[in-house]
């Protein structure tokens, strides 16, 4: 396939976004809806500016919760997958229960988590962890089990120990899978944190994060501010995804085919 010139890759989404904004103004104008039902993009930006101090502080709190849960999921997910990848027995014993955990809606578990971990940061981190753990474990385990059989034979021929086979072969070979898991988790972590805050409220003091802001703007019927909160959440999510995309690039670009350039 012919590659698209880089300008277009920037220009097309921008044009698309502008059209969407125009459409938005059009709908607002011709439908006759009120500002508190459908604020215009301009009103949303104005609300965001007016509420900037609260939004920023709340976004900071949410980022802490999301990052905490994400890092917990990234490390525990890595460790769990190592265990599952190394032992058939462990895999057979734990996999069904991991699925059960994944299938249980987090919303059902939230009250229990709050009961046990408390309504503050620990609860929010736990909820975020719960939401982003499974894709990491599932991907990384898959990666550990997909090692090229010829590479395994090479290690066996060299009388490599099981530990060497794990660290020097299976783990590096699984990195693209692990990073794919992290990418999914990065989109889920801010959602998890905001959801947790929404459920928990700010009973622990502090801002309560973006989730609590949603709750309070909603009860105050500050609809443009609600949209501004959505916009802020979106930006936060984008930062998460971009950070993992960067990590992915840093780890893989030298050797992995997904970063193959046209020449070189």
């Amino acid at each position: 396939m012919k590659k698209m010139p880089t300008v277009w890759l920037w220009l097309l989404p921008v044009v698309c976004g502008l059209l969407f904004v125009a459409l938005w103004y059009g709908v607002r104008r011709w439908s006759g809806l009120q500002s508190w039902i459908l604020p215009t993009p301009g009103e949303i930006v104005a609300a965001a500016w007016q509420e900037r101090a609260r939004l920023l502080a709340a976004a900071g709190d949410t980022a802490v919760g999301a990052l905490g849960g994400f890092l917990l999921a990234a490390t525990l997910g890595f460790g769990t997958a190592l265990g599952l990848g190394a032992s058939r027995t462990l895999r057979a014993s734990l996999w069904p229960w991991l699925l059960v955990l994944q299938m249980t809606p987090v919303i059902v578990l939230t009250p229990i988590i709050v009961l046990w971990a408390g309504p503050g940061l620990p609860g929010i981190v736990t909820i975020t962890w719960l939401i982003s753990f499974f894709p990491i474990v599932a991907n990384m385990t898959q990666g550990l089990l997909s090692t090229d059989m010829n590479h395994v034979a090479l290690f066996r021929m060299a009388n490599a120990s099981r530990l060497q086979e794990l660290w020097l072969l299976r783990v590096p070979a699984a990195m693209p899978f692990y990073l794919a898991g992290l990418r999914i988790a990065a989109t889920l972590a801010p959602i998890g944190a905001i959801f947790g805050e929404y459920m928990v409220g700010n009973s622990s003091g502090g801002t309560g994060g973006l989730g609590f802001l949603v709750y309070s703007y909603n009860t105050q019927i500050k609809i443009p501010a609600l949209f501004a909160t959505a916009l802020t959440s979106c930006l936060l999510g984008f930062i998460f995804v971009a950070a993992v995309a960067w990590l992915n690039w840093a780890v893989l670009h030298k050797w992995h085919d997904s970063f193959e350039r046209d020449d070189h």
Binding site: A153, F155, M157, A158, N159, L168, P172, M175, H256
Partner: protein, 256 residues
């Protein structure tokens, strides 16, 4: 002259995978220290299986097999395996790939770096040490794979169609390089191939195998002295040997 212990000695070896059909029946191949043996035969006749047995990657079912005076597994640290695809680790540079066997043996970093570097120089890759496998051509990858195998100075080198995926020019060149390396490092070689002329050029013995079940059908001795010049390929004697092997292959294909 006292008899030299064979490097590889099959005695009436039979092999099947699990409860499957017999793959190899009554193999009695013996390989001596200065042999370069090529195995050639129809696809599926068990050539790769023979190499897997010798390297201890897969056990024999009946009969005996001695490698370097001991069991295949215990002889592992004195043999090296070169696979059809170069099996380089894509996340390591050529240099790091060549270092791998020494690293797995926990050799000191300085020692393994020096040895790998020397071997890469020898196969003509001094300038490509820091390249990742995807930056290397098929022939270069194979050279790294050869360098990696030779860092341990193995007594026995097993090669499973190492040049099968390469174009003829590259293949010929690597054949010559392989013989030159053997002049320096004096390893015994067991080489699986589908190319008759490659087998004749490289080896002093070409063993032709038949299929279903796999067995030794015949052997052609190739007594051209080493080192062998590239020009040998054009000589009538060479072509006569190629014909001899080809006829054995025709017999085998007619019977199976």
């Amino acid at each position: 002259m006292e008899p030299v212990a064979p490097i590889v000695k099959f005695s009436s070896l039979k092999k099947r995978y699990g409860a499957g059909p017999w793959i190899l029946e009554d193999i009695n191949l013996a390989v001596a220290a200065d042999d370069f043996v090529s195995l050639i035969g129809p696809s599926g006749c068990g050539k790769s299986t023979v190499l897997k047995l010798i390297s201890g990657l897969s056990p024999g079912t009946e009969g005996g097999l001695e490698v370097l005076g001991t069991t295949p597994k215990q002889a592992r640290d004195r043999q090296a395996f070169i696979f059809q695809d170069a099996t380089l680790l894509p996340w390591l540079t050529a240099q790091r790939n060549a270092e791998l066997p020494l690293r797995l043996r926990r050799a000191a970093a300085a020692e393994r770096a020096a040895k790998a570097r020397a071997m890469l120089d020898l196969v003509g890759l001094a300038g490509a040490r820091d390249y990742y496998p995807r930056q290397l051509s098929g022939g270069m990858k194979m050279r790294v794979s050869i360098a990696r195998a030779l860092t341990l100075s193995p007594q026995l080198l097993l090669l499973d169609e190492p040049f099968g995926a390469l174009d003829e020019m590259t293949r010929n060149r690597l054949n010559e390089e392989l013989l030159a390396l053997r002049e320096r490092s004096r390893f015994t070689a067991l080489f699986v191939t589908h190319s008759v002329s490659e087998a004749v050029f490289l080896s002093n013995r070409v063993v032709v195998m038949a299929a279903n079940p796999g067995r030794e059908h015949g052997e052609v001795r190739v007594d051209f002295p080493y080192p062998r010049p590239a020009a040998l390929r054009g000589s009538p004697e060479f072509l006569a040997k190629v014909n001899e092997v080809t006829q054995l292959l025709h017999q085998v294909e007619a019977t199976s």
